[in-house]
Symmetry: C2
Subunit: 420 residues, 2 copies
Amino acid sequence: MGQAESAAMAVARAVSQERLWQRHMAIAQIGATGRGGVNRQALTPEDTQARKRVLAWAEARGYEAVIDAIGNLFIRRPGRNPEAPPVVAGSHLDSQPTGGNFDGVYGVLAALEAMEAADDVGIATERPLETVVWTNEEGARFQPTTMGSAVFAGALALNAALAATDSAGISVKTALEQMLSSLRITRHREFRFPMAAYLEAHIEQGPLLEERKKKIGVVTRIQGLRWFQVAVFGQEAHAGTTPLRLRRDALAAAVAMIGALEELMRDASDTVRFTVGRFEVFPNSPNTVPSRVVFTIDLRHPESGMLAALGDRVEETCRARAGRCDVKVVETLNAAPTVFDPRIVELVRAASKRQNFPSIDMVSGATHDAKFMARLCPSGMLFVPCAGGVSHNEAESARPDDLAAGARVLAEVLLKLANG
Amino acid sequence: MGQAESAAMAVARAVSQERLWQRHMAIAQIGATGRGGVNRQALTPEDTQARKRVLAWAEARGYEAVIDAIGNLFIRRPGRNPEAPPVVAGSHLDSQPTGGNFDGVYGVLAALEAMEAADDVGIATERPLETVVWTNEEGARFQPTTMGSAVFAGALALNAALAATDSAGISVKTALEQMLSSLRITRHREFRFPMAAYLEAHIEQGPLLEERKKKIGVVTRIQGLRWFQVAVFGQEAHAGTTPLRLRRDALAAAVAMIGALEELMRDASDTVRFTVGRFEVFPNSPNTVPSRVVFTIDLRHPESGMLAALGDRVEETCRARAGRCDVKVVETLNAAPTVFDPRIVELVRAASKRQNFPSIDMVSGATHDAKFMARLCPSGMLFVPCAGGVSHNEAESARPDDLAAGARVLAEVLLKLANG
């Protein structure tokens, strides 16, 4: 065993399950709803307060914070080589309006825990280690989602992000200025600052790890996504007087389309994610044949070829089942899959195995900040189980030992990257 | 040819297409929306004004009006035998909020036209002839529909009807008192007053007559109706992270149920009317697997046996396609078919034939006041075409010659019944 490897294992062992859990509980108090969850939307006083709490823990260790123009916060544990690009890990502290206590928070606290564990066992690294808090990952108050990482990576213009407003008309610019004046961080970081690697730990937000009794999800990629809106146009008619053969029933046509789409999307491996989540009927009256239905399609697949092939057949499939109705299909979103760096993926897989945590390779169904970081540097993710796969929900729940297991794997990988 | 028959034919010939049309246009001005239709909801000042216009035409002929406690208005042309139960025809003057110029109005004006045509050719009848204006047929402002005829026939308690309120909290009792004080009709009629027969002329509100190029629909029955509400319970889940096999997707289950119900309801004769008109999804978000869907079923059939057999299979059909979801099926309405008096039906059929108006036997898909009158006396209906079958719509349209044809058939049948 080399020196880098034994150092990494020592830090992994030094991860404190108790400290990590207590910090989750401390952050959970900020914006607590009283029903077990939090409302800590981006750039609110609660979001600012959560950052201050994390900054206070960092300050106690002597870590320095820098911030960029969209409010992404980087907390640095210096390396022996101060000029070397840092190894970065983190996630976000903002939440959905009825969010849980682990989504995002875990990735930040696990990264900080790895840095502190290294301190606790007195292990230095060649490259600096950093914990990042991305701004507005959730996109609940301000759209789009993953705003901070998108701006950092150059995928979203800063001015566009600053101009976004919430439902009260307050802009990101205004809310961000308030946060910055409260945080009082003087050191500034440029976008696309060079980094050696990026890691993000997250709760799975899905049921697979729990179902398969695994502790670690080795995330190989984030699946690609295509959204469609299908509008079906028929004709309003009296439900009692109009024979079926003379109807142009938009709901009946929409139901036939969805049935055909389900056939199209069926796969034995259960890899395709196909969801009709929104379905609006006009005039939506029990005794009137519907004249119009609008429904959405959320289609995801980890392989860009399959995503293209399936998505490209949506319109023809709908047309073939339109009957006497008209149909208009519009693609509203098209995001390619993100493939994580094979070396990072292998490090996560190997660390899980070495630490005897049962793991499986997984595809992330949800989007994360790691998607944009993968454009800038070798990146990867790991998942830990959450109860029932429930997330974006105040009932979101995770076990202290699972959170610690993920933090230990993260620590080992970060230390290897920082010394490798 | 007997005397009664030749008298009936003379009156039918005396029907004035011009007068009938002009009166429709006069009533159409009362509550006109400026977009070709009317808003003349029950017991509004506009409804009262339309009744006053009809009463003025009646008064000019010397006809006397009586009214009952729910505001049903009866205009009498005396018979030679004043004690004989009258032969009654009519419909209603109230409209939907965006209603047309013929629904209901036609049945009232055609009945009045028959009485006036008899005057014009100086023909007396043995029994009195009456034109009835039923209160609140539409049920738009106050529920239920066909309120006046239901109370008259004893199918709905007067107190229950008077207690119904509109969306502003005004009761039928209050609105009715205002109408009655404005109409100043002193003669009162009891509910279930004996009648010799009841006839109702109406626009078809469906496309069949137009499609088959017929002038008269001989209505043999009003189809029966069963309403169901189906609630499907699944589980909210992330559209990206949850494999299809682990989902409890309420929308997918509802779509499967509707597909199976369509199979169940399929019939070669196209007699079954099956409509899913309302479909509500929760939370109705594009990237969330729906946790709940509620949809309605409107099922109609002219045969009570078929209506029972099909309706009784709705719940098991839904359950069989519920998959991993739960389902609750509630029947919210069950109305048996109304079978019209064969003698009246034959009189309408024969009069159409004698007057060389192409006719077909039809089932009424919609409900009408005749449904309740059929419980009290021999009853029947006839339909005339309306453009595209469009009704309950400001675009509702009918041709002057079609309206006159129906009025001529009505006049012949009324005269035969009044002298038979």
